[in-house]
Subunit: 99 residues, 2 copies
């Protein structure tokens, strides 16, 4: 499995709008096992996204899907930058689809 | 919802043993919606844990459960420290139980 943990910095006052776009963009994307979007309670413009994909290729392929491209285009003007971004290798846990 | 993102530093050579304990400890704990344990591919003694709970109280209560207490006791000697620990407020996403 391929995991991502990222902290997105939204433009001031734009966090809720960006959250909505990220929440709409998630769903049954091929190879996506987990995609959770969270507010940072201590940092009013920050959003944390934690993702689990079947593999790195399925994550990469998702970025070319028309619905994801469309979401990226809408999200881009609301994003100032990425404070933190790390790749992980999920080993398992609770909340992943049964294989 | 209440979220946690943490980076655990395992003792040298003990990451796999610690991973096994963390994976065994997860399951149908009351209020736990998501609990994913991952290796850090760039850091051979690091483990990332991302959690989503119904609320902070259910997470706190879980720490008193006998099976969790037992896992903590087994894990403790394998842990050097916590490099990173943050609370989040998950807003939604893919992979959470349908409410």
């Amino acid at each position: 499995m391929h995991g991502l943990i990222g902290k997105i910095r939204s433009a001031p006052g734009k966090r809720e709008e960006l959250l909505d776009i990220l929440l709409q963009a998630t769903g049954s994307l091929p190879g996506c096992l987990n995609y959770i979007v969270a507010r940072d309670p201590a940092d009013t413009t920050a959003i944390w996204v934690t993702e689990v994909w079947v593999d790195a290729a399925s994550h990469k392929a998702s970025l070319s899907l028309p619905e994801v491209q469309e979401a990226i285009a809408r999200a881009k003007p609301l994003i100032v930058g990425f404070d933190f971004q790390i790749e992980t290798e999920p080993a398992g846990g609770f909340g992943l689809p049964k294989s």
